[in-house]
Structure formats: C-alpha cells, structure tokens
Point group: C3
Chain length 291, copies 3
C-alpha cells in the first residue's frame, strides 16, 4: 500500500506544470527513499529527472516499490482541482490499477485576517477536536502501462557550474528566443554570456559574477575549472524554465561533451534536473582550443 | 414613461454577464413592483428568472406595465461602456421602439485620495451647486419584438436546501467539468457531495455542514427533510456560476422530480434564479428508494 | 558616430508600442537637436510624428545627421528584452548598416527594500567603484533602406483645442467602437461630444469643461474660437490611443478642413503627434454653416 501526504500540495501542481510540456506519459516510481520520475521527452533529446525524498512528506508509507504509469496531462487536470493551500494525499493499493489524489482544504477560518490569528489558533484547536476538514475531494485516476528503461546517470565532473536567479535565466531564454533558435552559453571567470543570432540580428547577454547581494537567491555565482562554450536549442531551454516557480535559483552545469544539467532544487525535498545534449555547430566559433 | 435610476450601475453589468451566456434575446418586464425577466435558454432546458425590486432603485418611475425585448449581447455591449462607479438610468417613452441607457460618471475629485476627503466634501458641495456631472453618456438601443410566454413557477417544498459560498460552488463545477460532463449532487445531514465520472477517472468533492465560521457568507448550511441525489449537466451549472460576482453565497434547492433551483440573491433588490431539470440516468444508483 | 543613452529605457518601449500598430517600417532621424520619426500608416491615411529632444537623454552624441531605416516590429522585439528599469543605449557607427541597442540592468541591491536604502547608497558607491552593471545585454539589428519623403507640417491655427485625460479619451474611443465605426467630435464652449451610430443603436458621450480638479492631469480644458464638428474613423483613433501610457493627458486640435492632431506629450523630451483627415459625410449634420 502507498500513502503519501504532502502539506504543501501546491508543490505537486508546480512539479506537474514543470514537466508536462516536455513529457506526455511517464512512470512515477515510489520506494522507501522517495517519489521519483525519470523520462525522455517525446523526441528523445532531453531527459528529466525528479526526486521528492520521503523525509519531505508529512506522512510517507510505501510498503513495496511501485511504478505507476500516468498521463501527465490527466494528472495535471486533477491537480488543478486542488486549492493552493490544500493538503494533497496520494494513495494506491497494491496491485490496483488506479491511483487516488485526495485534497483537503484547510478550514476557512484559518484563512481569516491576521488580526484573528490568536482567535484562529483557538478555533483551529476546536477544529482539531472536530477532527475534520470542511471540504474533501478525492480524484481516482486509471494507471497506464508504460515501457521505460531507467538510465543510470553517472556523477560527472563539470567544467563550470553557474548558479543564478531562476527568474533571470527564464527571462534570458525567453528574450533570446524572440531573436534566434539556439543559445550559445559561454562561461569565463568574469561571468556567463548567452548569445543568439537570427534573421533580424544578434543578441548577447552577459551576467557578471555577483555575490554581494542582499538576498543569497539573487547572487550569480560561477565555479569554473575551465572556460566552456556550448550551444543549445532554445526551445528546450524554454521548456525547462517552466520549473521556475519551484525554486528561486537555478544551476547550470556545463562540460564540453556532456549534456548540460539545468537543476531546480525543491526546498527540503529534492530536485528537478533537466539534461540536454549540446548542438555541434559552427556557432561555437568563440571556443578557444583547449590545450 | 419609464425611468429607472440605479446608483450602483455595476450591478446591471453583472446581471447581464450572468445571463448573457444562457439567453440571447429576452423581454425585460417593468411594472410598479420592479424590473424582471424570465427566459428559457435556447435549447429550452434551463430557465432563468431575474427580479430587481423597485425599492432598490434610487428613482423608479413606471407609468404602465412595459415589456421591452432586447438582444442581451447588445445590451451587454452598451453596459460595458459604463464605468464601474457610474450611475445608470434606463429610460423609455411609452410606445417608443427604443430604450436609452444613460451613464453618469461621478466627478473625478470624488475619486481622489482619502487625505483630501474633507476638502472633497466641500468641493462636492460646490459640485452640487454646479448641478452636473463631468461626463454623461447616453446609448439608445432599438427594441425587438420577442414572443415569449411567462411561466407561472409554483412555490414548492424542497427535500433539501444547501447554502454555500458562491465562489466554492463555482470552483467545484469548474473542477468537475475537467473530468466529466455531469454532476451527481447528493445531500445528507452531514454534507453535500458533488461527483462526476469521465474517461480519465472519477471525482468526489464533499462539503461538510459548517456554521462556525468567521463570516456568515463562508458558512455551508444544509436544511434537509429527506436525503436526495440528483444528476445534472455540468455545462448548465457552469453557465449559472457566471452569476457568482452578484452574491457571495448561493443556494441550491433540490427535490426529486423537481428542477434544481440555483439562486443568487442580489442585495436589497431581488435575485437571479436558475432552474434546471435533473437527468434521469443510471448514475443515480446512490439514491435510496424513498418509501 | 551615434550614441544616445536614455536612463528611462521603458519610455522607448512605450514609444514603439504606440506607433507599431500604425507603421511597419520607418526611418528614425538623428540630428544634433534630437531623435525623430515621421511616417504614414500603410494606407496613407494617418501620419505619425515623434520627437525626442537631445536634452532629454543622459548622453547624446550625434556626429552627423543619420537616417536609420528599421522594421518597427523587430525593434519592438528587441526592446521587449529590456527590463522596465533598464538604461537603454542606442549606438551606430557612421556608415554602418546595423544599430545596437544596449540594455543595462540596475544592480539588484538597488532594487531592494526601502529599509536598506542607506545601506544601498553605500553599496551603490561600492558598485560605482566596481564600475559595472551585473547584467548587460546588447542587441545588434540590421538597418533597412526605406524610401520616404519628409513632409513639412505647417503650424496651423485651430478652431478648438481640447485637453483631457488620455485614459478617458482611450476609454471613449474603445466604448464607441463597440457600437459604430466612426466618431463625430463636436466642440462647443460647454464641452466636447463624441457620438457614433451603428446597427444596434446610437451613442453620445459628453465631457464638460472641468478645471476644478485635484490633479491638473484630470482636467478637461477647452480652448475654442469657433464651434467645430468633424467625423473620423474610430479604427485610427483606437490606434492612436496605444500612446496612452506615454502621457496622462492628450490634446485634440480640430479645425474644419484640417486633419485632427492627437498629441501625447513625452515628459521633458518631446511628443508623439498623430494626424488624421476628417471624413466628409452626412453625419456632419450638426455643423452649423460657418459664415
């Protein structure tokens, strides 16, 4: 039997929105350690890997390993029925061909104005005595059989890792895709440059290393062993940035001859990682030959 | 001669938006008691009844009963030209084939910052001396001849009446329609259950009776003589919820063998009521035979 | 060499949005006095004239007069990549067939909460020492050869000039175009009347002269030598109102036998002016024969 209870239900909605554009059908794998997914996009160019560790759930029970095939659009339809403050529980019986999503709305008093805060604490305690939520929804969805092979992704050493605000990365990918189709990412000690070229002209956006910021999530931090310049399809980058609401920062791990890893950490629970192979093209003319 | 002056002009805009999706052409009936409308939707499945009592108008003059046929999309086009703070006056001469909507914008000083409040009171008094608004719009629209019969709707006793927040009812209808086409509404003492079934799975949403809330409009109150389970087309329910901006609560009156009444009260003026016959289907398997 | 630096970069975005619907390709003319544009719309009915005086730029260098042909949709694509707080620099080398737009984001500390204001002043001074912005984008765009003749627009005396809030003028044009295709503008001492007529009815909106307002930009001021009534195509008027974000007021200059001038002032820099010839139609029945 499987029963996972997540207080921050809106997180699951964001996870689905993050991967739904890239992947149509996928297996969600549950084990003692956590809830995970690994899937290729339909053109087998990009890979997405999701991990939500068991410790992040309020309640996590998974009696034996389970792989549940789901159509992500259907999951998304069901999750969109959850309120942003709802507690979400995922349930499945062993051997069952369905999964149930249960949404509990917090009682409405709890949402009242902050002046009522202490009153609410009291009322919440009463609510606890009443043992129940005022609105409970459960959605039962049929599971699918999906063939998939689980790729072992080896730990790798990267030439450069860039950490930057996720909203800025999203903005850059969006801006560049109004000019061209590919982005050249060049990392040097001073900063990271995103470039593109199209019919109407060229664009270069440079973000300097910047650690002296008010809030750590606004920093741009570059860890570099060697300068690296790689070219990627902007279409995929833009798909990856659907994960922006999950984290205020993103990290880009780059090595020549390795796929880029675009990682969004999910606070205290895990991550979504997107892998994309670089394009081998003439645009990489800026690369200095590496001795 | 007809002359109706409504200070809260935005209310008329909301009324039009509430019924415009369901009804294309309709007769507005004016009498000494109020301004009303009764119309079937184009497929003759749902009925809408509107009443705005004369007491709710700042000025109400209706020399003799008048029935004015209007295309609701055209009325809506004209009302959308009224600002949300405008005073609306509806005028028609006896025997005329046109109706005039007049919109008066409050003077702009009145809208200024609250620090200027007392200054404004003085200025408003000056404005009163000047006897006039700064912007006045009048829209004259041709009337139509529409055949319609006025149905007498008998007062009925209902097995169950559910009062709940209108936004929650709207959300439930919207959520369920992403899964299925019909909703089964079951009322018991404990609460009301909304269920649907579709290709991708099933959904059940239970709202418990809940009267211990901060604000009365957040309560869910069930008055029940007998448990009742009925099935309705979600498409119509979703149309009815266009009236949500008119009232913070909605009431659902249910009886087996009677159409459901979905009522939105219009504060101090009247109501919009929607009537819809239940579907006779196998989904009603939950109904206990009533002795 | 040309180098224009504008601290308020969002202003350029607004200028482009204001004229892009009307004009596809146009020459931007740079001289010692300023940055300007004059273009007809594609149907050669309306004329737009833009002036941004050199004094309004933080830095303005224009070694010799330059006319740069640009596709406005492409310029708009590039400018949409500038943040609203970005500083924009326009650069072109003499004889070059490209123009470069450079966007500098203010450092993110500067954007932090006001409680950090004094800290920020200090940090900004550090930033100054570091000599640089954290994000710099440059977009290079190919120029086009566009044939155009520069019309001399003679200074004219107008029968009436109406100054009113630009948002109100935009609202009126939008409202009337849901009823009819043309607007009749009649100016008398008391006010200005906008009228239209369509299949569903007629509409008249009267704005009275009103100078006793809290804020000067909310005034409606009429300077009139003779009453005037003219008819215009609403489609063009609605296009002109795309300039509304540039100024809180608009002025309409009217004379029989002259095009209307719809002017939006650009604070401390210049203006956008739209010229449109009146329609010669029977709707002008309100015009009194002028002796």
């Amino acid at each position: 039997m499987l029963e996972l209870r997540l207080v921050q239900g809106s997180l699951l909605k964001k996870v689905l929105e993050a991967i739904r554009e890239l992947v149509t059908d996928a297996n969600f794998d549950c084990s003692g350690t956590g809830f995970s997914l690994q899937a290729m996009d339909s053109s087998h160019v990009a890979l997405v890997a999701l991990l939500l560790r068991s410790e992040g759930f309020e309640h996590y029970r998974c009696d034996r390993n389970l792989s549940m095939g789901m159509n992500l659009n259907n999951v998304s339809k069901m999750l969109r029925c959850a309120g942003n403050d709802d507690i979400v529980t995922i349930k499945a019986d062993d051997g069952s061909d369905t999964v149930t999503f249960m949404f509990e709305s917090p009682s409405q008093w709890n949402l009242s104005h902050s002046v009522f805060f202490f009153l609410c604490l009291f009322v919440e305690w009463l609510s606890f005595l009443r043992k129940g939520q005022d609105k409970i929804a459960d959605f039962e969805m049929k599971l699918m059989d999906i063939d998939s092979e689980h790729l072992g992704i080896p730990e790798a050493e990267y030439h450069a890792i860039v950490r930057m605000p996720s909203s800025e990365f999203a903005r850059i990918c969006k801006d560049l895709s109004s000019i061209g189709d590919t982005v050249v990412i060049s990392v040097t000690k001073e900063g990271v440059k995103f470039s593109t070229k199209g019919d109407i002209g060229t664009a270069n956006i440079v973000c300097r290393q910047n650690t002296t910021v008010d809030k750590p999530e606004e920093a741009t931090i570059i860890e570099m062993k060697e300068p690296v310049t790689l070219t990627f399809a902007l279409r995929y980058m833009n798909s990856f940035t659907k994960a922006t609401p999950l984290s205020s920062t993103v990290s880009l791990s780059l090595s020549s001859e390795l796929p880029i890893v675009v990682e969004y950490k999910i606070a205290e629970m895990g991550y979504i990682r997107f892998y994309l192979a670089p394009k081998i093209e003439d645009e990489e003319e800026d690369v200095k030959p590496q001795v």
